[in-house]
């Protein structure tokens, strides 16, 4: 039988003995030990290219040297092969919704988000992985996998080197792509169409 959790292990059952002076004072039970660490955040090579392009309203991906798969945001590596991905490709700001989540909780530091909101995996046309983005401009109950979306950008004079340039993704109104070719299924559909094993 596992031990009763209300009974401490025998070795730990001893009471602490205190000097007289502390016999009648309220004991300290907790202590605040704040931590503050300052870092110099550097986005790295692949991200820098991606973020710099954002200032020009361009979305860059990187292409796998192995099979041409396109990664966005680029991280300098094809994670399937551990292969460096030095070549950038420009991608359109349209795509479709893969998996998504209707969230009814606030996010720390994002008081601007109205609840509920939809965070979704955005699969850009021409990209082979998705990234998280906010979907808006549509009732949350209407969002669906395969729905076509386009980026809604900040005004040109507010653009910077940041992914925050895209305020959210809104429906284009085009017909959905089939669920079997959406999100993470897109790669297999593409391989099948090319006559290769997925």
């Amino acid at each position: 039988m596992s031990a009763d959790p209300s009974i401490p292990p025998a070795a730990l059952s001893g009471e602490v003995s205190l000097p007289e002076k502390l016999a009648d004072v309220e004991p300290v039970r907790s202590v605040r030990t704040p931590i503050r660490l300052e870092y110099d955040f550097i986005p790295g090579s692949a991200s820098s290219g991606y973020l710099n392009a954002f200032a020009d309203r361009k979305i860059l991906g990187q292409q796998s040297p192995v099979d041409g798969a396109v990664f966005v945001p680029p991280r300098g590596v094809d994670p399937r092969h551990g292969a460096a991905t030095p070549d950038y490709v420009e991608l359109p700001d349209t795509g479709h919704v893969g998996g998504f989540c209707v969230t009814r909780l606030p996010i720390p530091g994002r008081d601007d988000l109205e609840i509920p909101y939809v965070s979704a995996w955005i699969h850009l046309d021409g990209a082979d992985i998705g990234f998280l983005g906010l979907v808006a401009g549509i009732d949350t109950s209407e969002v669906r996998m395969g729905m076509r979306v386009r980026a809604v950008w900040k005004p040109d004079d507010e653009l910077g080197c940041t992914a925050e340039n895209i305020l959210y993704w809104e429906p284009t109104g085009e017909p959905d792509i089939p669920v079997t070719a959406a999100g993470t299924n897109a790669w297999h559909a593409k391989q099948a169409a090319a006559g290769e094993p997925g």
Binding site: V16, P19, K21, L22, R29, R32, E38, S47, S48
Partner: protein
């Protein structure tokens, strides 16, 4: 050449730690203006006190008062002070073996400059007027007899 990007990243959190009986007693002592050590089975006293013997790992429970005077076993000089530390002026950092304890503790040394410090010198505790049960309730140590 693309613009080199950088940004400040600050990780900050007000961790609140529960203390258990031994650390809690030590911090209670500091709040009340006394320093506690803990007795090992061989009679020697650890300060600061841990809940367990550092060699056998068996529990220790016998808290005893030590200090407030003691001997400086080692020191260094910290200038400039580290930004998160309790000290905002250049100060010493020392290993202080308090009277009645057999092991030294690390704490600040409140003198004007490193020339005021030497191994083997006698020092004594200085307290902050407002105390909450924190290691920094001890403001640091000063040479014994110093009129601060």
């Amino acid at each position: 050449m693309a613009e080199r990007l950088r940004a400040d990243l600050v990780l900050e959190y007000p961790f609140t730690r529960t203390t258990g009986p031994v650390i809690g007693a030590f911090l209670t002592g500091l709040r009340e203006g006394i320093i506690l050590g803990i007795r090992r089975p061989d009679g020697t006293v650890l300060c600061p006190p841990t809940e367990y013997d550092p060699e056998s790992s068996e529990p220790l429970t016998d808290l005893v008062e030590v200090g407030p005077g003691g001997e400086l076993l080692s020191w260094t000089w910290v200038d400039p002070p580290r930004s998160q530390s309790p000290w905002d002026q250049p100060h010493g950092l020392g290993l202080i073996r308090l009277d009645g304890a057999d092991t030294p503790m690390v704490h600040g040394l409140l003198v004007d400059g490193p020339e005021g410090l030497s191994v083997g010198m006698r020092v004594t505790a200085r307290w902050r007027p407002e105390r909450e049960g924190h290691i920094a309730d001890l403001k640091g140590f000063v040479p014994e007899g110093a009129d601060q």
